[in-house]
């Protein structure tokens, strides 16, 4: 894939300056809370408008403030799994899953049967959203985004609210998605371990500035202290 993102914008109390081009499948977006990671995803998705932005995906310009171009959200074909999942509370699991797809049969690998099997949520389809566990909700949100046959996936801290055990169980699913679907993905997280486990390269954002793509391992080298703090909080020993 080729994703080009250039943003130079300010909102009350906050500024975002982004400039990167990603080629590989799963690109990490790494930084502390409040660094601007979610805002970046919002601008790419079109959900938030920036005073100056340029977003190009696979040759299609989605946003270009200089040229007066702004493709509406619903036409960008971007699958977004936000931090709070934003599952529709008044709809069943099935209706949530099929919201973005017209018939649930988008052809392999986007069929309802395949995606629910892959994420092991087939037995949950007829349930209500309110009756699911955290891990189940996470997988339903992922499935919903996938079933809409997106050209780009935006995952915002998909594992943040899960315990270590559940995290370990879902990472394989994410790998499966990465490998089977091959959809370009921006993966936001503040956990370097997830970066290493899943991403080919990582955009590091600090105080709203993100310009460089690093190899995942580099985060450890350049930010040893920070990493030690992170690893300590996650409770892992090396």
């Amino acid at each position: 894939m080729s994703l080009v993102v250039k943003i130079d914008a300010a909102w009350p109390g906050f500024r975002l300056r982004i400039d990167f081009a990603a080629e590989h499948g799963m690109t990490g977006v790494f930084g502390r809370s409040g660094a601007g990671k979610t805002s970046l995803l919002d601008v790419v998705a079109g959900v938030r408008k920036a005073s100056r932005a340029f977003v190009k995906l696979n040759g299609d310009v989605l946003a270009d403030t200089a040229g007066g171009i702004f493709v509406p959200v619903r036409r960008r074909r971007i699958g977004y799994v936000p931090q709070n999942l934003s599952l529709f509370p008044h709809l069943s699991v099935r209706r949530n899953l099929l919201y973005g797809s017209s018939d649930g049969d988008g052809g392999e690998p986007f069929s309802l049967a395949h995606v629910t099997e892959l994420l092991e949520i087939a037995p949950l389809i007829e349930r209500e959203i309110t009756h699911l566990s955290g891990g189940e909700l996470q997988r339903v949100a992922l499935a919903r985004a996938l079933l809409s046959r997106p050209r780009l996936l935006l995952l915002d801290e998909p594992l943040a609210s899960l315990d270590a055990d559940l995290k370990a169980r879902i990472i394989p699913f994410l790998r499966r998605i990465r490998d089977e679907f091959g959809i370009p993905t921006l993966y936001v997280s503040h956990d370097p371990m997830e970066m290493v486990a899943l991403c080919q390269d990582v955009l590091v954002i600090e105080l709203g500035e993100g310009r460089q793509l690093h190899a995942p391992g580099e985060i450890f080298e350049q930010r040893v202290e920070t990493v030690y703090r992170f690893r300590a909080s996650v409770g892992q020993c090396d």
């Binding site: 998705a45 959200v73 971007i78 699958g79 977004y80 936000p82 529709f88 509370p89 973005g100």
Partner: protein, 226 residues
Amino acid sequence: MIRPEEWQVLRLTVVLAALSNLSILAPGLALAWVLARGDWPAKSLVETIVTLPLAMPPVATGLILLKLLGRRGVIGKYLHESLHFDIAFTWRAVVIAMAVMSFPLLVRTCRTAFAQVDPRLEQIARTLGASDPRVFFTITLPLARRGVVAGSLLAFARALGEFGATIMVAGNIPGRTSTLPLAIYHLVQLGQDAQAYRMMLISILITFAAVWLGERLVPRGKEGGP
């Protein structure tokens, strides 16, 4: 128990209030959503205009309507002369007066209800390809259902009790424009207190019924997220 002339007044009032509600529902919901979510240059001007009937004396609003829709009014004159069609002092004027006076209540209540729906949900729906109408009907409206029903009921009750604007633009003509509040007022003016009290009781009963019905139509605890 209820006399024929009382039944006629009651029926007229309820039917016209229902018509009024039906006519303002679509524009009211649309405007409420646009005010809740949108941000455009003339927004505060529109907000002010919509709120006017709520703040102005009802008779003043009624007078404006009369000036527009009466036989000598800008619109009324054309309708009367070209189409032999009257609005003032007919049931149509009652519906218009009810609609104008209850519209702000509907819009404000629904706007609050829509604003309380997590905008994130609407945004996600859009990323999944939904057009604005689809987002409104499948996400916003169902989640705001309770507030929308409350707003409609409020508008309905307001229409049932509408007096000042109605008496100006529709007068009080038995069988045609004599609604419950107008009838009560008229009976008191004629010194017929006993009948006025009967009508007053009927008024209380239907308002009670309307509110009760509303509570039943929307079961508690069915909206909101996990």
